[in-house]
Amino acid sequence: MMKTMNSRIRATLLAPLLLLLVAGCSTKPVQEGEIIEPTFAADRVLREDVEYASDVYDPWSGLNRRIYVFNANFDRHVFLPVVAGYQAVMPDFAEQGVSNFFSNLSEIRNVINSVLQLKAESAFAGTWRFIINSTFGVAGLFDPATAMGQPQMDEDFGQTLGRWGVSPGPYIVLPILGPSSLRDTTGLVADRLLFDEVRFLGLNENSHEQWLYYTLVAIDARSQTAFRYYEMGSPMEYEMVRMLYSTKREMDIEK
């Protein structure tokens, strides 16, 4: 019974995505009549010897752009309404509690990756935070560690790879999760292998509980993110987001 429900959920989630990937419009512009060179044609305006900040290695751009549009639609029609419902139902302190709880769990990932990057200070900070917040913070529902002057240090396996010289590789837009890279996507998988929160919490894998857990993680993460698709007033939003994501990750690794 559980199993069928799971596969049904998975099918509902995946079907539109697959459809989107195989069907529909092309990424290629459509020629409608004779093409007339624009006033400012690229080959006249752009020079070969100039580097462009917006250039990010994106060989899978066609697929990425489809997923980007899918994500925007999913965000508008599913994600944001659910987040709004969640925020309406949950008292603010409970929302904060949930957020703190997940954040405290992610401390283990921070510590593991701090160790892997030989960042002693960060590893100690994370360990100290986890101990304080798990005890005085009532299993992580509160965050006294930050109040005591020790902010969270975000570290993940993508950053660990970057720290040891792995380049980001192709840009990837992940379904629902959004901007990533081959390196950072690998990092996501590795982090899960290194520390499985579901197992740690004693939840049944491939069960209702697991889905509920991930759904709540996703809702919490979205409610913490101010970004809204297609509101920046730029026809170049995809390119802008790609550039900013790449820059932000370089900064994270450097940190």
Binding site: Q31, F40, R65, V69, E231, G233, S234, P235, M236, K255
Partner: protein, 422 residues
């Protein structure tokens, strides 16, 4: 009742009653610092952290075809916050490339809502969503046509909200280009009389559009080595930001952390000017590319080439970033309007896009108020005189604040509200 609300909010906004302009206490005396950094928290007016601002979408032109690659811009987005009781309504017009709920529109929205107004936030006619959904021509930057587009939108928004509120009078306020737009909207209202605006407030408006966009275009020359070196400049900025980020951790990338980051980065003047130039260039690029796609004008994108929902914007995005607003004026804007009216001259069109074109009206229209800063760099030397000469007492000119940098300062917010008193 309104007067009471007004006095209370004035008091709240100023914190100190009766602050005089002789002791103007806005802290940044450098116009570039003021513009980039704004008002430090301890100098801001006391405004509500949140107001019940709702977002909505409106169909302006039934059956308008939106280009596939701009599919998400269908329907004009705007925002509003309504009072429960009868109240005056103020339309807020954003500046160049600004959205209805952008930072500066939100400052105004909070101030006026707190003072008892219904508020309606409108995007600038130069904002992509407005160009696609509410601009009749799709070629923005035209003083009179943009005003007509705004007026149409205002009328539709009023119809939309009419059943839910009681309005005791209509007002308009706008900053930067939005302030400029407000003057032309006021003039249009004298003919059409749909609102009979009681007061109109222009905050840091340009006088002559072409002068201001030329000045802003040129600010990009402050990038060391010019625009060709943009990438190196970007990288060096990121590097320095990273140093702050390392120390301050998450803080540096949050909005509150921005001021702290600025303090630590110790920007030089020309670096700040370059930042302003980059920001204006991004705005110009978005505007020109959107208008180009909308009209299939063959400006940056080849004519007769239709971009799909999933098409790459390369290399058009790069080309757009290399072109200034003045390029748009000469190679797109002017030819577009020239084609409609062969008698039009380039110089004639440029001079029409100026407050000087409606000087007589502005002189006589006592309902219009101006707030400006002596050191605003979007004005050419001598242009400030225009405001003094034409508006006299109705022009409040602060000694500094750069371009809209002091909008959130307590004296400015207080003046914003008192200027709109009926």
């Amino acid at each position: 009742m309104r007067t009471i609300l007004f006095s209370i909010s004035l008091f709240l906004a100023t914190g100190v009653a009766g602050a005089t302009s002789e002791s103007y206490g806005y802290p940044h005396q450098d116009p570039y610092v003021a513009t980039v950094v704004g008002t430090p928290p301890e100098f801001r007016a006391v405004l509500p952290e949140k107001i019940p601002l709702k977002k909505a979408r409106l169909t302006v032109f039934e059956g308008r075809e939106v280009p596939e690659s701009l599919w998400y811009e269908e329907g004009l987005r705007y925002s509003y916050a309504l009072q429960k009781q009868a109240a005056p309504l103020v339309f807020l017009i954003a500046g160049t490339g600004g959205s209805h709920d952008g930072g500066k529109n939100q400052i105004m929205a909070k101030a006026f809502y707190q003072a008892g107004f219904h508020v309606v936030g409108l995007s600038s006619p130069t904002f992509a969503n407005f160009i696609v959904s509410a601009s009749e021509t799709g070629v923005p930057g035209h003083a009179y046509r943009d005003a007509a587009d705004l007026y149409r939108v205002m009328t539709l928004v009023r119809d939309e909200l009419q059943s839910r509120i009681q309005v005791t009078g209509h007002f308009v306020a706008g900053y930067s280009l939005g302030g400029f737009n407000a003057a032309f909207v006021a003039l249009l209202d004298e003919q059409r009389k749909a609102f009979n605006f009681e007061k109109v407030l222009m905050i840091n408006p340009p006088v002559r559009l072409y002068s201001s966009v030329s000045l802003l275009d040129r600010m990009l020359e402050n990038i060391p080595g010019g625009v060709d070196n943009f990438n190196q400049y970007y990288k060096s900025l990121v590097e320095r930001l990273t140093q702050v980020y390392k120390r301050g951790d998450r803080l540096a990338l949050s909005e509150d952390g921005f001021y702290k980051a600025y303090q630590e980065l110790q920007f030089k003047n020309e670096e700040l000017a370059a930042l302003i130039g980059v920001s204006f260039r991004l705005t110009s690029a978005d505007l020109a590319l959107t208008a180009d796609i909308m009209n299939d004008a063959g400006y940056i994108k080849p004519k007769n080439l239709r971009l799909t929902k999933y098409s790459s914007m390369q290399p058009y995005d790069k080309v757009a970033m290399r072109l200034g607003f003045t390029d748009y004026v000469h190679a797109f804007f002017y030819p577009h309007y020239k084609a409609k009216d062969p008698s039009l001259t380039r110089a004639g069109l440029i001079e029409e896009m100026s407050l000087a074109d409606i000087e007589e009206y502005l002189r006589s229209a006592t309902k219009i108020e101006v707030m400006h800063n002596e050191d605003d760099f979007i004005l050419e030397p001598g242009e400030m005189e225009f405001f003094r000469r034409v508006f006299g007492e109705r022009a409040k000119i602060y000694p500094y604040g750069g371009h809209c940098g002091n909008m959130e300062y307590r004296d400015n917010v207080a003046h914003m509200l008192s200027a709109m008193r009926q």
